[in-house]
């Protein structure tokens, strides 16, 4: 069985440190009013940004589980 440094540590670091950049982006975009929630298209793109983050997180988690247990 590969060690923690081979499996979940990179995953935690990727979505922890990467997540800080991602959330900072969302905060700056919201505060600067670059996103206008009154517009339907902007609301759509806002949701897509969240979706993308969890989509990639799920892909990586599933691939690690598959490597370890399949």
């Amino acid at each position: 069985m590969p060690s923690f440094e081979n499996t979940w540590l990179p995953f935690i670091y990727l979505y922890g440190v990467g997540g800080i950049f991602f959330v900072s982006g969302l905060i700056i975009i919201k505060k600067s009013k670059a996103v206008n929630f009154e517009k339907k298209r902007h609301r759509y793109w806002w949701k897509i940004t969240y979706f993308g983050f969890f989509y990639y997180m799920a892909i990586h988690a599933l691939l690690i589980l598959a490597a370890l247990y399949l």
Binding site: Y13, L14, V17, F21, F22, G25, I28, A34, K39, L63
Partner: protein, 698 residues
Amino acid sequence: MNAHHSLGTSTDWIVMVVYFIAIMLFGSYFSKYNRTTTDFFFGGRRFKWWLIAMSIVATGVGSHSFIKYSAKGFEAGFSSTMTYMNDWFFVPFFIFGWLPIIIYTKIRSIPEYFEKRFSPSTRFLATLLLLLYMIGYVGIGFLTMGKAILPLLPPEFTILGMHFNITLMGLVIVIALIVGIYITYGGQTAVIFTDLLQGFILIFAGMLVFFLGLDYIGGFGLFWNALPTSWKLPLANFNNPPGFNFVGIFWQDGIAGSVGFLFMNMGLIMRFMATKSVDEGRKAATFNILFMLPISAIVVGNAGWIGKAISVMHPDVIPPDTNPDNIFVVVANIISLPGVFGFVMAALTAALMSTVDTLLNATAAIYINDVHRPAKKWLSKKIRSLKEEDKQELNAARIATVIFTVMGVLAVIPFESFPTVYEAHGYFHSTLTPPLVVGIFLGVFWKKFTNAAVIATFVVGVALMILGMYYPRPLIEVFAHGTDYDPQHPYTYIGALYNLFVCVLVGVLTTVTRKQQKKLIDWIKTTPNHKSLMSGLTFVSGGLFVIILFNLASLPVLLLLSAIMLVLVVLSSNYYSKYSEKTHTEGLTVWGIAKAKEMFKGRKVNDRDGEIIKVNWKIKESDTDLMYFSKNDMAKMAADPGDLVYLCDARRYLGGLKSVHSTYGEPHDEDGIVYITQEHIDQGQFVKDKVLTAEKEM
């Protein structure tokens, strides 16, 4: 290490030559759409998202290449996909921040943005750094192409009694000649359409290799079971080995690389400038990152995984010590029939050609916008007509492309010393991107980031990066997260974190002390000899940079000199450049997107939602750039006279190729008819009796 030569058969070579000729003919057909330099470089801001998304695939896949990811797939397994699946963190910054800014400010190059946001001297520094980056990228492309084609050729050949040894550099020169000829006569529209076709072919060819490989091995079950568990993990070991580890690649590619690719890769940015609107750009970017990048990761890396499985099951077929940079070609040759191998190799080399031609096109755009035009403005006062000017610039762009092709070939020399293309590319990214990445990023998202701060980032940040190269221990070691020190190529990837840190540190320190700087400059200006004093200080800062560049003192002294240089550079920047936060940030940062949109239109924006309508066109004699719709059609589009309109051939498969932007004129009473000028017809290449669609832009 096991090297290969003379792979493939004559059938493969015939397929490759036919493929290349077909692609070049396909591209040259679209060169007729280059009517101006705007078309040549930017494709005229008219394309639909799917066309741009697919053409980005060829550029992305080409630049990251089958060769280097197959090599890492062979050495390390599925973690070769890491770099394709770590780009999402900066998507909010891109789609809501940078993308609207580049489209609404109508900038033609990244350095032009630096001039608008900061000053002409910042533009000059940015041009220097960006040209270095682009030429380096072209060099990586040539090196990869050379490594891809070399295994197909014999080690030597004789023609007309003359004996030739085939070397990597010789091959790179021949490849550069072919690429240079193609791009010089193509232009951006040709590049977009060639890349669109190649995007489809690449995905097909890569998947073909995967399925043929699985078939060769005996099915997915055998393939999966043959690979060790560590090979199946999607992320590499946290901090070792130095040649391929997670944390280094996260900072080098996931942070510096992602921002570099989305924010300063002119090739990619020009694609987004070619989309018809910001919304289409968002669709292209998100579709590409969400769906095409994971597919691309499989497409480019699977030959390495297949190679690894074959080497475990049949070490006599693929020895475990096979040169990783050859593995793609070796695997494709083993699993394919003659002809199929030729097709796969043609798709691979054509993809690399796409990347290189996109980069060369972008480099020429930077040259025209940031070197040629400013230099001409300075040297000559002769006034030419717009058409004469454009023709001359188009010729200059073509000559510049040839020169940058030669420089790209020369850039191959230093990259050749790295064990694989992957390491060469990683080192290149971690070294050349941080100053520009920090400059653009803080410039776009931090309104208080000043001109002096960005100049200090470019000069003192680079000086500290140079110190990092001379003294990786102790400077980079502190940031290494426990990665082992490799004396041959120290901290290839994690060096990016140190480089980013020093650039951000310099930029932030300079920005937060801006009030004190102003006081000091105001005081200096009251002294009688302030002009000579400042000239002297600027000269001294140049001297300090030279001392650091050539490592002429011990580390503590060099660090002290860097600190002194920071003060001097900041003082000089404040003294010589006029910078005002109000005028230099309006519409140029994420805090002023609405203003940027208004500036783009030239009047108040009309945000009412309207329909897309179908119309037939009629010609109207006029010199003004206006289109005339009926009152009812204008109401359907929710448009008013003076709003911006996009008129496009209704055939969807053209993806916006035949389209034009204009402004609404006063309405008439003929529903379903738009009156346009001959210039609109020429620009949009509209065909008689073909229906058009019209929509309000803003």
